[in-house]
Amino acid sequence: MGGGQANATRQESVSCAPYAAVVTSEELVIRARGLTKAYGDFVAVDGIDFDVRRGESFGLLGPNGAGKSTTMRMIGGTLGRTAGELSVVGLDPETQGPQVRAHLGVVPQQDNLDDDLKVRENLIMYGRYFGLPRSYLVPKSAELLEFAQLTDKASARVDDLSGGMKRRLTIARGLVNEPEVLLLDEPTTGLDPQARHTLWDRLFRLKEAGVTLIVTTHFMDEAEQLCDRLIVIDKGTIMAEGSPAQLIRQYSTREVLELRFGSQRNAQVVAQLEGLAERIEVLPDRILLYSADGEATLERVSGAGLHPVTSLVRRSSLEDVFLRLTGRTLVD
């Protein structure tokens, strides 16, 4: 494969210019220009441009219905596009779907494991769709089960797995062909906090191993945990692009002061809070004050004779970025 040389070149170019404007096509796994998908009058994805580089972890952050899954399906070639250009590993997924999918691992939003098959059989039979022989699949499935922490469940029925186990099995299944790119559509939706952390750990290891991850999520903490770079999308268009830290720096303040005066009084006190922070957002249940120093702002609030029922100082997150960009919260 000549991997050594290509690798060296990549390392060099990255270290010289981390955000170089010119990226050679060799390094781009995905290139989208004016990518559009319309269903009649409804435009699900509205002319978006983005690039994904080899080995990076790229996120699509946005609320439900923003067009994330539609974009993912266009990448996998299981959905045609209405307009625009899309190249995945240098191929057009719409006309060369099977070739493109041979490079990909796909983890869909909705689990579609075969519950007539045992856990291990799910991996082996899925590997067969890639034309992989049993001599490869038998040891491979053992390694994948180890990775997914499901070795002792190898002969279990899929029905008997917990939600988190099913997700890990679906991820293991997506890795059976040793894909260059792993597409993860809402990987932790519906999982409890512990199961999410286990999953993030597994995904983080894959990223370290050089697998390009493309993740859609409507959880800002997930995007912060997993993504090197992301696009914030809403209503089919890109609102912002950058690393989580860059986006927070650009669209929010360092800290946020959250105040609750009780649902009746929140609206009344807003006028008195004006000028105490760089920016104020009023949500139905709380007021957010954006400033570099949350504690200092809280002192000024008390100084003005206002006494909230609860107050909380925290770091800005992508949730705040999204609120700033769209005026709405990510999770309703």
Binding site: P98, P108, L113, Y129, F130, G131, Y136, N177, A209
Partner: protein
């Protein structure tokens, strides 16, 4: 937790080049899906076996020996042979076509909607058309196995005399595909639930089983009911099976027509099915 070498897991290089994998899927994708489909049948293997063994046994005893004794009581024969010989190849075709009405309705709905099992392979190099044909291939293999068992019972009961009687096996399987492939295509268009299958069962399968000349020659029915037989894959299959099993005197042109009708239904059904699967899995 044992730590495993993730970099080797992610790219050991053992899987082979993607282009090669895509090429293999292009050539053998139908078989790859059929493998999964066959393996899934293991979940209800005992039902398949019980049906495969029980049906011929019950039908041959009840109809051939029981009803047959009544029919032959006055030294009567049907079409010049005993009732058992007359009815056996027909019941073989009918029961295997009935199996198609089970295999190519609810499982198709499950693949698209209830269990979404078609969506897994759809994200691999295997195409929707290959998934459709793979499912059809797997159930066809089941029909062949079922037909072989039935044929062995026919031999054991002395219900067939011709050295060509083994031809009833492919004939029965072809009849089942002729009925099953269009049914699979129809099932692939259903969005909501499987209620439509009850309709299919009651108003298509039932009359087809009763009016396809299975238990009595189609010619004994009034002409205004005979058309049901003419459009029924069960009748065309039955006539062919009788021709193979005991030498029913069917003009050569009509034998050709029977084969053509069955093949056409199978091919058109499979083609439509490929189209509907593609539409549904890429939208």
């Amino acid at each position: 937790m044992t730590d495993i070498d993730v970099s080797r897991l992610a790219a050991s290089g053992r899987a082979g080049e993607p282009t090669e994998l895509a090429g293999r899927a292009r050539r053998f994708g139908v078989w790859y899906y059929a493998e999964t489909s066959l393996r899934s049948m293991r979940a209800y293997l005992w039902t398949v076996v019980a049906v495969g063994v029980g049906q011929p046994l019950f039908y041959l005893v009840a109809l051939g020996v029981g009803l047959g004794a009544l029919v032959s009581a006055n030294g009567q024969t049907v079409d010049g042979v005993s009732y058992l010989v007359f009815v056996a190849p027909a019941v073989m075709v009918a029961t295997i076509v009935a199996a198609a009405s089970g295999e190519l309705t609810y499982p198709v709905m499950a693949g698209f909607r209830w269990r979404r099992t078609y969506y897994g392979p759809a994200a691999t190099p295997v195409t929707p058309a290959q998934i459709s044909l793979g499912h059809l291939l797997a159930v066809t293999l089941r029909f062949v196995a079922q037909a072989i068992v039935f044929w062995l019972f026919m031999l054991a009961f002395g219900a067939t005399s011709s050295p060509w009687s083994w031809l009833t096996v492919p004939i029965a399987a072809l009849s089942a595909v002729a009925f099953g492939a269009p049914l699979q295509a129809y099932a692939a268009t259903l969005k909501r639930d499987g209620m439509a299958f009850n309709f299919v069962q009651r108003f298509i399968v039932m009359p087809m089983m009763l009016f396809s000349g299975t238990y009595f020659p189609l010619s004994t029915m009034p002409t205004y009911l005979q058309w049901i037989g003419w459009i029924s894959p069960v009748w065309h299959g039955t006539q062919l099976a009788r021709w193979a099993s005991y030498g029913l005197r069917e003009p050569a042109w009509l034998v050709v027509v029977h084969v053509l009708v069955l093949v056409t239904m199978a091919v058109v059904g499979a083609a439509l099915s490929c189209r509907f699967y593609t539409r549904r899995l890429t939208r």
